[in-house]
Structures are given as structure tokens and as C-alpha cells.
Symmetry: C2
Subunit: 452 residues, 2 copies
């Protein structure tokens, strides 16, 4: 039912591009949706991508450009002439996408492109949007929307909507304003169609409307739209005047990106990488955290080295180093991840921090007891060395409780001081837990073995 892009298709396309066989390339791309073309572009090099985008009609080219990942888009824009960007790309874009494109250009080219835009009103909209901070409602909203005055009749509205609708991709809601442009409420197309044409709008619109101020942050917008299942949300300024709207597709992308960021953090990556990325890109995303791990490993070796005497006299102590370190890391990441996820989901917690820590402590105590008993039984029956048996069990017990509390407190603290709490699931905490866990283990062992 859907057009399936195969590897063969892409290979064929690449070959035709190399041959500069414009006709055949056009025929091959004829049945494609802009989103499909964008997907294919990710597999092309910059020259091939440039060739394709210059070939497409403005409508398609602009849709394709919007769908390309930001980094690729930036690189591609650098390769395109300003008049092409203005007249073939921006011309066909909604103001939010157009502003994103202009923001991606460097200062000189930005001015050039803005001056090349024929529609002066559109250029004005873009400049207005660029004023807002990037991650706020103002920075992501589009200016295109359908609005009607509360004093109009349904008949006037229908006529006005036909006129306004030309510039708007999809109408999800019709916004109702008063004479001062203040947002009063919302009207669905459904309501409009099912209402008598002589009725005044002020009698039929829905005044219970969710809206956001221009300076509300992306996270909060996504939360509101997700919670109340909104296809679009209107954006107003400080005195309630309607300024733009944000649609669900922006929110879907944002939710996905946020989830990906948390996922990358916990798996030790510093960027959004694909297996197909360049070796250098992959290295750049992977090295930072591995290096922190390396540093932690060296610190760990110093901790162990400071107990050399003990380890050399009781070698069996070394056997349980991986167990202690791994458990400390695992428990810590779990605790942090639970907190991070609950913050990210935006679900309000009605319990106090004290209560939550108490609960975490109970979970930790129960887990620690189970683990201590299990490893005690194992060591008791397998080695019979009571010093070792007690050392490992007691250390494991303490380490689990410590890592739980540490893993819970750190993300809560980071969130309180406005740092991304997901950082707690990253390598710093895991590495700290490892090292602290090992220290606890060797200190406990010293008490039992009595070696100095």
C-alpha cells in the first residue's frame, strides 16, 4: 500500500545522479512523498543531495527540507544559493519552518536571504519569530492560523475562513478573538458546519480553552498538549493577544527527541548517532563517557592499590570485586532512572521528598537483605571462609543501601538546581558508585580479616 524504498532503488538513483541523467531521476522520484525523499537524502552525500533539491519543484523541495534532520539541513543550506532558498524554499513554507531555516544560516547569508523574500509580510513574520527564544512557545509556533471575530456571524466566518485558509496547511481549530486581538476561545469546524449561518460567533464558541504564553518552554507545552490530547494549541502574548499556534507534529518530534536524549544518557552516548554515521561522528558521541569510565577505572585501581597488602594476603577478596562494583552501579542506575522517568513523564508526585526517600530506603533494605542472604549462603557453602562470607555479605548490604539513596538523591537535587536530572544516570554516578562501593568493601573486609 505504501511505496517501499529499497537499497536497489537508492543505488539506482545514485547512479543516475552520477550520470547527470536529470530526466530519469525525475521519473524515478515522481511517485515519492516528500518524507520519502527526505529519507533517501540521508543516504546521499552532500553533492547528490544538492543535485536533488535543486531539481525539485518549490513545494516539494520545501517539504523535503523540513523533514531532513537538523544537522543535515544546515550542511545542505550552506550549499544552496540565497535566491533559491528565498524563492523556492521559504516561499512555500509555514512561518515556523521558514524561521528555522533562516536561523540555520550564518549572519551574512541570513540578511541576504531575508532580503530576497518577495512577500514582505512573510519576511516580517520570520523576523518576528526569530525574536523569540528557541525552545519557547514563541520560538516554535507558526503564525499561520485561522481566526474570526466574536462579533461575526457564522456566515461571515465561513467566508472569512475560505479566504484565510489558503495560507494555512490544515485547520484544526478556528480561534475566536475580540476587537483587540485578544483570544477569547475556540470553535471547531464541526461546530461551524452544524450551526445555523445567522448565529453570532459569540454565542457558539467554546471559552474553555488551553493556551500558552509565548515564553512557556517546550517541555511544558508538550506536557499540556499530551495531557489534554490537543492537536494544536494557541500561543498568546502577556496581555492575551493571539500570536500563533503550535501543532501536534512538533510535539511528537519533541517527545521523541527528549526520550532519545534520556536514552542516550543512560547508555553512555553524548549525541544522536546512527550506525550509518561517519566514524568520526560515532567516535565523538562515544568517547567522552568512555573516557570518564577510564578515569573511574584508574581511580578504582588506586583504591584497590591502597589496599594492596590486604589483597595480597587474602586473594579471595579480589574475586568479589566485580560483584560489588556491578551491583553498586546497577542499583544506582535503577534508582536514578526511576526518578528521571517520573520527572520526564510530567506526572505530579503528591508525596513529599521525605516520604519518597523513606520508600526508597525500604526497597533498598529489602533488596539488600535478599542479596546479603543469598551471597552469604553461596559463600558459606562454597568456600566456608567465614571472614570472606561476612565481608562480602555485609559490604553488599551497605553498598546496595548507599547506591539506592545516592541514586535517588542526585537526580532530585539536579532537578532542583535546574540541571537535567538524566545526568544522574550517566557515567559520573555509576563510576562514583563503583569506587565508593569498592572502598566500603575493602574497609569492611579489613575489619574481618584484620590485615593492615
Amino acid at each position: 500500500m505504501q511505496f517501499e524504498i529499497t537499497r536497489e532503488y537508492v543505488e539506482q538513483l545514485k547512479k543516475l545522479i552520477e550520470d547527470k541523467n536529470t530526466k530519469e531521476v525525475e521519473t524515478l522520484m515522481e511517485p515519492l512523498h516528500p518524507a520519502d525523499i527526505a529519507e533517501i537524502m540521508e543516504g546521499l552525500n552532500i553533492d547528490q543531495a544538492r543535485y536533488i533539491i535543486l531539481l525539485l519543484d518549490g513545494e516539494t523541495a520545501s517539504d523535503v527540507l523540513v523533514e531532513i534532520p537538523e544537522n543535515d539541513r544546515k550542511r545542505l543550506l550552506k550549499e544552496l544559493p540565497p535566491d533559491f532558498i528565498a524563492s523556492k524554499l521559504i516561499e512555500f513554507m509555514d512561518s515556523d519552518d521558514a524561521a528555522d531555516v533562516v536561523a540555520d544560516l550564518d549572519e551574512d547569508r541570513k540578511k541576504e536571504v531575508l532580503n530576497e523574500i518577495e512577500d514582505f509580510e512573510q519576511a516580517g513574520d520570520i523576523v518576528d519569530l526569530l525574536e523569540y527564544e528557541e525552545d519557547t512557545a514563541g520560538g516554535i509556533m507558526a503564525k499561520e492560523l485561522v481566526k474570526v471575530n466574536e462579533n461575526w456571524t457564522v456566515a461571515t466566518c465561513l467566508k472569512e475562513i475560505s479566504r484565510q485558509a489558503e495560507e494555512v496547511g490544515e485547520i484544526y481549530y478556528i480561534y475566536v478573538i475580540d476587537d483587540t486581538e485578544k483570544l477569547k476561545g475556540v470553535l471547531s469546524l464541526k461546530k461551524l458546519i452544524t450551526t445555523n449561518t445567522n448565529t453570532k460567533i459569540s454565542n457558539v464558541y467554546n471559552a474553555e480553552i488551553k493556551m500558552v504564553n509565548t515564553n512557556v518552554r517546550k517541555e511544558e507545552i508538550a506536557e499540556i498538549m499530551d495531557k489534554y490530547n490537543l492537536v494544536a494549541i494557541p500561543v498568546v502574548d502577556e496581555i492575551g493577544r493571539l500570536k500563533g499556534r503550535i501543532t501536534f507534529d512538533d510535539v511528537i518530534d519533541f517527545i521523541r527527541e527528549e526520550a532519545e536524549k534520556d536514552y542516550q544518557m543512560v547508555s553512555g552516548l553524548t549525541g544522536d548517532v546512527e550506525p550509518g554515521d561517519k566514524v568520526f561522528t560515532l567516535m565523538r558521541a562515544r568517547l567522552p563517557w568512555l573516557l570518564i569510565g577510564l578515569f573511574g577505572g584508574v581511580l578504582g585501581s588506586l583504591v584497590l592499590g591502597s589496599h594492596e597488602n590486604q589483597l595480597s594476603k587474602a586473594t579471595e577478596l579480589a574475586f568479589f570485586i566485580p560483584l560489588i562494583a556491578a551491583t553498586a552501579g546497577n542499583v544506582g542506575v535503577q534508582s536514578s532512572a526511576i526518578v528521571v522517568q517520573s520527572i520526564a513523564s510530567g506526572v505530579k508526585e503528591f508525596e513529599t521528598i521525605g516520604k519518597r526517600l523513606l520508600k526508597e530506603l525500604m526497597v533498598a533494605m529489602a533488596t539488600a537483605t535478599i542479596f546479603a542472604v543469598l551471597i552469604f549462603a553461596y559463600n558459606f557453602f562454597s568456600s566456608g571462609n567465614m571472614d570472606l562470607t561476612f565481608s562480602v555479605s555485609i559490604s553488599l548490604f551497605i553498598v546496595i543501601i548507599f547506591a539506592s539513596i545516592f541514586g535517588t538523591v542526585v537526580p532530585l537535587f539536579l532537578n532542583r538546581v535546574k540541571i537535567d536530572p538524566a545526568l544522574a544516570t550517566g557515567p559520573f554516578i555509576t563510576t562514583s558508585n563503583d569506587i565508593i562501593g569498592l572502598s566500603i568493601y575493602l574497609l569492611i573486609a579489613r575489619m574481618f580479616f584484620g590485615i593492615l
Copy 2:
């Protein structure tokens, strides 16, 4: 702008519920949106939640129930009388939500509730929907939609839509069918409003429409709707007849759930838990993977134990156990996470598996070289023990390459055999990497130190 739910508010509500002060509870909840009530319900116990839901009018109660997390909903439904479920909840729900509710009931109650539904057509819709598999388009679609015949005029359509729209929450698209109910295309309300009323629908509808078959899986639906930015997608049967539609809010929830699942996997949790959950629930989500880690730790101790002689004669070897184990784990998780994320994002890879492995190998070689050199320099200058210096460096080099390849191959393999590739980021692989890494380390060391 938004009603803010505070801890004090919830405490006050709880107190009023305990006092059975129905009037005050109603006043307190008056300004709330169903989604807000659902959020508050998560903080209530089952009796309090039951009290609230029985108090609400049908429209609100049904909206609240739809917004409650599935597990809570199941528990709450058990506490409600069948006639209440049928006449106050299901009555006001769209067919997809109603089917979800009925599916949550156990067999006896299911029949009872279905028979209590007054609207026979609605009961029929629910029974029809229950036939489809849960995670397919049929299982998540709603029957409510607006459809028009291609032979009608715009004027007839507008009248028909007014009639049909009563049962549909939001009209996003109007579906155009032929006399055999076959889906021909789509029409936007915007188009309808802006077209002359005498025009025949067949002349104005858009035939280029994305649709899915009833048996298409959720993952694929989410991918298509996200890729093409669709608010809703129609569902058709094998011979193309229009059966229902799926809307964007279902997809947002699904994307979020999938991302959460992957996140839980990599952070060692087996369920979606919140810090506020019961101790038992938290334990159940945390213990399984910690226990696998415990088992891995014991295996690790056996591996180290089998090299006891070596470790007792060269204690300094033990110092680098945490470094080797941690690096093996970190590199493996990174490699797996990159593959898992690329599979989850649904972005097509146009490279062959051979090429991807070659790239992974190049990244691994470069990383391994950097790490081997760094740790060589560190050990050379800090200890000067050349046996140790060579052992650690060479082991680290081999371990990084092994963990990279292992971490890349396993999720690719799991995906090929239709197992969730995210499993690779879980504890099995990390634990395996730890143990294999340690074995490599001790075998290499044996070559240098020559101890048996």
C-alpha cells in the same frame, strides 16, 4: 493560565472524601478537566477513586477513565457495578476506548456489561473491535468517523456530515467511499468549505491517501503517522473497505510507551514504575535484573577464582579488574544502544550489515587504540611494571573490540529472529561482556607474567 494541582489540594480532597462530604467534593472538582481528575486519582487509594468516579457525571467519568493508566483502570473497574460501567462509562465513550474497557473485564463481567449496553449498535461495534488482535490497527482503531459517498455533491455532504458528526469527537478528515464502502480518498473540511456546493465529491477529493490494513502492527502505524505527520489514518480491510480510523493521540501514547520500554531495559527495570508506587511493585520491577547481575558477579568470582594462583602472585593485576569490567560493559551497551535506537526510529539503513560491522570495527579499533595508549602511558609512568603495563593495555584493546562487535551483532540478530533488540542493552549482555572481558584479561596476563 492552567489550573495547578497542589499537594494541599489533594490532601483537602482526601479529607473531604473521608468525611463523605459529597457537596464539597463536587465543588472542589468543579473547575477540573477530566485529565486533571485522572492525575489526582493516581494519588488516591482504590476506595477514594471509586467514590470519585461514582460521583461524576457520565461524560466526565468516561473521559477520566480513559486517561487513567491501564493497571489502575483495571483495578478500578473491578470495583464498579456492571450497569454503571455500561450506562455511565461506556455509553459516553468512543468505540476504541469502550472496547479497551470491556477487554479489561474478566469473562463473566464482560458478558454482563455488554448486555447492559442500551445502544445495540454500540455493543455491536465493541464486539467487532474485540475480534482484532490487540496491537494491530484493528485493535486500536475507533469505528467513529465521518464518511461520504463519492457520488454526492458538496451540499449533500455538508448535510450528511452534520448528521454523522454528532457521534464523532473531532473530525480531522472526511473519508470518501464508493458504493461498495471501498475507501477512495480523503477530503479536508477546509476543502469542503472552500468548494462550490454543487460540485461532485469525486471531482474534489484527494486520492493520494495513506491507509493501513486492519492487521498492520502498532509500530508500523506509529512510523507512518509520524513520518507523514498525519493527525489520523484510516483503517481498511483486505478488500479495501473502510473500517475505522486511528488518531494522533493513540500514536503519541504509543511512541512514549515504546521509548519508556527501551529506557527501562537499559536501566535495568522490568516495568514502568514511579517513585510513588508500592514497595512491592518497585521490588518486582527491580529485582529480576539485579539478580541476573548477582549471578553474573558470582560467575565472575569463579573466573577470578580459577586464576587464584596468578592473582596471589601478582596482586597488582586485581587493581585493574574494575577498569576492564566497566569498559567492557560500557562499550557493549553503547554499541547495542546505537543499533536499538536506529531500529526504533524506523529510519531505513541503506547500508549492508557487512558495511555496518566494518564501520563498527573501525570505530572500535580507533577507540581501542586510544585507550590502550592512554592506559599504557599511565601504567608505564606510575608503576613501571612492564608485565602489568602490557597486560592491561593489550587486554583493554582486545576487550573493546570484542565488546563492540558483540554489542552490535546481538541486537541485529535478535531483531532478525523477531525478538525485541532492546534486550541486548539489558543485563545479559553487560554481564557476559564483564565475564568475557575478565577472562581475556587474565589469559593475556598469564602470557606476560608466566604464572600458572
